[in-house]
Symmetry: C2
Subunit: 252 residues, 2 copies
């Protein structure tokens, strides 16, 4: 038993590290989800502010100024670009994180169940160990001269008491052994499953982070590239409007 | 006077249009300033959210993962890009609007002063006009037989009263004429200045809008172009990290 205890302790230290990793990846994932949601809210905020600024220009823009129609078309394109960007990051990056996080509470519950079943297993083991000790004593007693209690009993009962005692002890002992076997099976099953799954899940986080940020970076790249083009268009329209203004000034 | 009134009315209608334009450009400019400030706040919000997301990735990033150093360097570049963009839009576009708007309250005050001086001028004109009417009556009286009042006066005073009356009327008349001249000069000076300045100021708004949005578009174009490049870098790092992860998986 002493030896088994040591092996258990070693195994538990390894398992505890797995659980620490699991908790780390759960904390990381939850923070990533929160930060990504805040980022998406900020995208909406900047989209709204940028649209309001563009609307402001559109409202001030006189119909006879250069590029009135291009201005309006550009405002719509910019709007679409922002909306698509928000939608793409939501559909890809956020969904990746959401799906990944959704499986963690079940694992967490199974870790807690394993802990409870380990307590059951431990108490069954201790119960069995103490019965085992008692049984050994009884066996020793039968080999020894009659105890004081037995000496006080009527002579016809001599031997019956100890036989009954042995039978009783044997029954409890067998029940406890069975109980120990069952507790061990339940614990081991959960334990083996988790020992398989936790390291795989820990490794899987890398893929999740890659998917999330690769998808984000991809949409970001496209979004910023298109935004840069639209800004170039706005710059060109402003240059032409300035030329028109200077020509008008010279004409007056 | 009827004729002068008509000319005044025409002149006032033209001036009122100038004032309507001035009010329009003041409203437009104030809204533009407000929307630009809100945009700058939104830029800060999105910068913060984007930095927090990048920090989140950096914290999860294990030291032995591909491109840890590039990741950290890229986070700093992104930060600088956001800060520069915010600073540039503040320094150029917002300052352009602020400078433009700063001159408007003085013009607004001068329009209000012109309105008050026009009231003064009008009342001086009416006062003078009524004295002019009275003077004509007095002159007509002198030419007519003595009035009832004069007939009631002692004979030695006959003629003196009307002489005194004429002298008095002449004094008021001259004072009113002077007052009218002064009120007109003050009004005309303000009026001429504003009639010069208001149309020029109205035209100048176009240049202000051009400067504001051209500068914004220029910085925006540069910002988005650089952001697109950095997103491409992040995408590349993620691709390499995924390759590393797959190699590790095969090795285990």
């Amino acid at each position: 038993l002493q030896k088994l205890g040591k092996a258990d302790e070693t195994r538990d230290a390894a398992f505890e590290e797995m659980v620490a990793n699991f908790n780390k990846q759960m904390t990381e994932g939850t923070k990533l989800q929160k930060d990504l949601k805040a980022y998406l809210t900020a995208v909406k905020t900047m989209h709204d502010a940028s649209r309001r600024l563009q609307d402001c220009l559109a409202e001030m823009y006189e119909p006879d100024w250069f590029g009135k129609e291009e201005m309006d078309a550009m405002a719509e394109d910019t709007d679409t670009l922002w909306l698509d960007y928000h939608q793409n990051v939501t559909d890809k990056s956020l969904v990746t994180i959401d799906t990944y996080l959704a499986q963690l509470p079940d694992i967490k519950a199974r870790i807690a169940k394993r802990d409870r079943k380990m307590v059951d297993f431990d108490s069954a083991r201790h119960h069995f160990a103490s019965l085992q000790k008692g049984k050994k004593k009884d066996e020793a007693k039968i080999a020894k001269p009659a105890a004081l209690l037995e000496m006080a009993a009527p002579s016809w009962a001599q031997g019956l008491i100890s036989a009954h005692q042995v039978a009783q002890t044997n029954l409890s002992y067998n029940q406890a052994e069975e109980e120990l076997g069952r507790a061990q099976r339940i614990f081991e099953e959960l334990n083996v499953e988790l020992q398989d799954e936790l390291p795989a899940l820990w490794d899987r986080r890398v893929g999740v982070y890659v998917n999330t940020f690769q998808s984000l970076a991809g949409h970001q790249e496209k979004f910023h590239k298109e935004m840069s083009k639209l800004s170039q268009n706005l710059n060109d329209i402003m240059t032409k409007l300035e030329e028109q203004r200077q020509l008008n000034e010279e004409a007056n």
